[in-house]
Each structure stands twice: as structure tokens, then as C-alpha cells.
Subunit: 245 residues, 2 copies
DNA sequence: CAGTGGTCTAGACCACTTC
DNA sequence: AAGTGGTCTAGACCACTGC
């Protein structure tokens, strides 16, 4: 682990290049979610840099929640299958009490053609095949969330209502184990809207009741958008929680 | 910069102790917002540790947005007076277009007694003096935000409607320059609600229109809550934006 | 006990800013 | 040229995990 000279185009620190190489390995599924990546020493040898440089690269990837460090054990690829990651992207919390167990009921899962809006968000051509899912989530028997999900048909071939109903656990864990797709980050746009007839029926509310509309775009490695969600939350007894730093 | 042995109670890494000491200096206003703190070498000498240890401490404080590093110049105390920090905690964005200049009109600023709810959030005793502010914010002449603010009377002595109207810029910059109070982080709870008569009047909407209710608690150094806000956003043409990592 | 990540040091050199 | 933060290295030792 000493002299190197990679004649790379424009300047960037060594650890940025290491970061990029580790990221490439993640994206190429060389190491799968939940598995350990090679030790710092091994990576230092592989890339012919010092341990400190690998360390800085890993630190930043861990800060981005792509890797998880475990002292004494190793560094692991982040996964939505871990208990504490089950609700990684869920910001809904009950007004009183602490926790909250949501039960999910899938209503529909159909193959259809992307309209212009969904296509542009997923970076597909309008008319490409997509999968459209409807579901309701309940807390203590009361329906609180109505959610629509759109997925590119190519990546999620064969996903249907039976597969969804057979799965117990977060949808993002299913994507990981059945479709080799790990969600890295997401963006949400939130508005207040009125319940229409359909929403009112699903959530047992009157027409015109105020609902939180939450539109999410979720991304895998390489900033690739692979899932669109449009949820409506009944916020009578729960709220969307956000921390500003 | 070599051997040390601070006989401190329970174990914590050296850089954590350095972090705590820098934080204490910030809290004690030894270095003011916008000012440079001593160089890494100076701090290393002061605390009798290596530069690398100070570096790690500063890195973490910078990641928490308490300090700002500027290569070649120095490390500065974060401030809401900087241009790019003006809207640090504002997550409202226009549906189309990029930016958005909000104009603020203050309606009232009165001294009153804290009710139980506000008192508990601000960690005051019920009945202590607080300041209650009302304002409306507009975009392109259209009112889109109605906001109530509660502040502890002790810390913000003398704040009145004239002072607010005389100030041009973000409220958090005023807190910094006039009341030695720098906001470090905040927590928001969001719900969908219906406009009542008052809100409808302020925002030029019909009664029953859906609004985004945003309750914020903002904290200074030491996790001390010092401001409560309750805003209602008209999200017809704008939305609340959130990134999930 | 060996192997992993975590801390700390000391020193060299680079990149950027200011005078 | 001097001073700041930023990168990189090499090596020592600590803390935690699991055999």
C-alpha cells in the first residue's frame, strides 16, 4: 500500500475515486444487501492506497446510509430487511404514544401503460409498461393511508397481487429480495387536499375531509428513479414528522 | 501536541471531548455567529492534542451545521445571516419554477401568559410571560402562509411590532443579531386541516379549504427550545418538500 | 486469540486565499 | 510568501466480536 498514479482525467481526491469504485461494486451487485464487504485492509490492498484513505471513503458512504459499520465485525451493505430499517422512509407517527404497527391490505396490482407524468418521473417513454398497485394501511383496525404505487414493468416483471399478498413485511424488502432493487433515497412533495368520493370511501371519512397528499419518488443506486408513490394520509390522530438540521 | 491524560469519568474518545469543549465555547458565545474560530493548529495546541483529532471534532460539528469550513480561510460559526442560509428551515417550494421570494407582513406582536401547551413545549411554567406574533407571508402578491410564533418573554425582552417591521430579512437573523440566539435545529409536525373563518380571511380562501398545518419547535445550543411556530400553508400552487436519506 | 473497525499521532505535501 | 483547511500515509494502540 504505497505509491500509486492512476492517470485519471480531471482531479479528484483519491478517496473520492475509491468511493466511486465501491459504489460501482454496490451497483453491480458484487456485494448484496445485508452482506459484509471486504475489510478495510483488504480494500486498501486492492486499491493500493492506505487504510486511512479507504476509511474516509467508507465513512462517507456510511453517512449516506449505503453502508453500515459494525465495530469488531465488519462493514455491511445497507438493507431494508433489518428491523430498524423497516420504516426507514416512513415519517408518519401517532399523535400520542410512541410506536405504531401498520397493517397493509393490497387492493389491486395491474399492468398498464405509463401516462406522460409517471413516465417522466420514472424516466421512461410514455406508453411503456408499468405496474400500478393500490393499497390501504390501517392502524388498530382503522384505515389511515391510501396509497398508489407505480413501478416500471421491466424491472418488476411478474409482480402481481398474489405475490404482494404472500409477502409479509415492507414492500422495499420485497423489492430487494425478489427484484434485486435496493432503495437508496427518496424525495417527497406534500400538499393538503380534500377527500373525493373514492378516498372518503377507502378511509371511512366524509367527502371534503382534509388529507395529506404525499408524492414520493424513490431512487436506487446511480440516482435512478424506480418507484413512484402517491399516498393520502388521514392526519386526524397522526402526523407527518420532520427534523430540520 | 503529545501525551495527555484527562481523568474524565466515563470513557469517551478524545475528539468527543474536544467537540464538547468547542460546543461549550459556542454556547458561551466565545465565538459569535459569522466569526472565525481559531485555526486547527491553534486549537490543537490549546487542547494539547494532534491536529487530526481537532479535525475530526470540527468535521462532526460541521456535519451538524454548527460550523462552516472554508478552505484557505478558516472555520466559521454558522449564521442565519448568510445568503444561502436565509431559508435554511423553509421547506415550502413553488410547484413550477425554481425560486420564490416571500414577503412578510407582521400583524400583531403582544405580550401574554403561556398556556399549558406552549409552556410545556418551551419548558416554561404555565403563566410565564411569552410573546405572541402573527404574520402573513405572500408570494407575488398572494397570501400563502399564515403563521403564529411564540417566544419566551425573558429571552426576547423588548421585541415588539415596530422592531419586527423595522427589520428586513429572516426572523432567525433578527434573533441572532438582537437577542444573541442562534437556531441550531428544528422539528416539525405536519397535518392537513380545514380553513376556519379567520384562516380563510387571511389567505383569501373559502372556509373549509384544505391547508397544511405545520407546527415547529426550534432549538438553540444545548437542545434548548426557544421558539414555537404554527404555520398554515395554502398548498394550491406550492408544496412542502422533503428529502429522505 | 485473531480479526474487525475505532482512535490518535506525526509529518509531508497539496489547494486555496490573502497580502 | 505565509497561513488556512484538505489529502494521504504509516504505524501504534484500543475496543469490540466471535471462535
Amino acid at each position: 500500500m504505497s505509491e500509486v498514479n492512476l492517470p485519471i482525467a480531471s482531479f479528484s481526491p483519491l478517496y473520492e475515486q475509491i468511493k466511486a469504485m465501491i459504489l460501482a461494486s454496490l451497483q453491480a451487485a458484487e456485494w448484496l444487501p445485508g452482506a459484509a464487504i471486504p475489510s478495510e485492509m483488504e480494500l486498501a490492498a486492492r486499491y493500493a492506497v492506505s487504510q486511512g484513505t479507504v476509511r474516509k471513503a467508507i465513512d462517507e458512504l456510511a453517512a449516506m446510509n449505503l453502508l453500515v459499520r459494525r465495530q469488531g465485525k465488519g462493514t455491511y451493505v445497507a438493507t431494508h430487511q433489518e428491523d430498524d430499517w423497516q420504516y426507514r422512509f416512513l415519517r408518519l407517527a401517532p399523535d400520542s404514544a410512541e410506536k405504531f404497527h401498520l397493517t397493509s391490505q393490497f387492493l389491486a396490482c395491474i399492468k398498464t401503460k405509463a401516462n406522460a407524468y409517471i413516465a417522466s418521473l420514472l424516466k421512461l417513454k410514455a406508453g411503456e409498461t408499468i405496474i400500478h398497485i393500490d393499497r390501504v394501511q390501517s392502524f388498530a383496525g382503522k384505515p389511515i393511508v391510501f396509497e398508489e404505487i407505480w413501478l416500471p414493468g421491466m424491472r418488476f416483471k411478474g409482480l402481481d397481487l398474489d405475490a404482494l399478498n404472500a409477502w409479509h413485511g415492507p414492500v422495499y424488502a420485497l423489492y430487494e429480495s425478489h427484484y434485486a432493487t435496493h432503495m437508496v433515497r427518496a424525495e417527497e412533495k406534500i400538499k393538503a387536499v380534500m377527500a373525493d368520493e373514492t378516498l372518503a370511501a377507502h378511509l371511512h371519512l366524509e367527502i371534503g375531509a382534509p388529507l395529506l397528499s404525499v408524492e414520493r419518488v424513490a431512487f436506487t443506486y446511480g440516482n435512478k428513479p424506480v418507484e413512484i408513490r402517491h399516498a393520502r394520509y388521514d392526519t386526524s390522530n397522526q402526523h407527518y414528522e420532520n427534523k430540520l438540521n
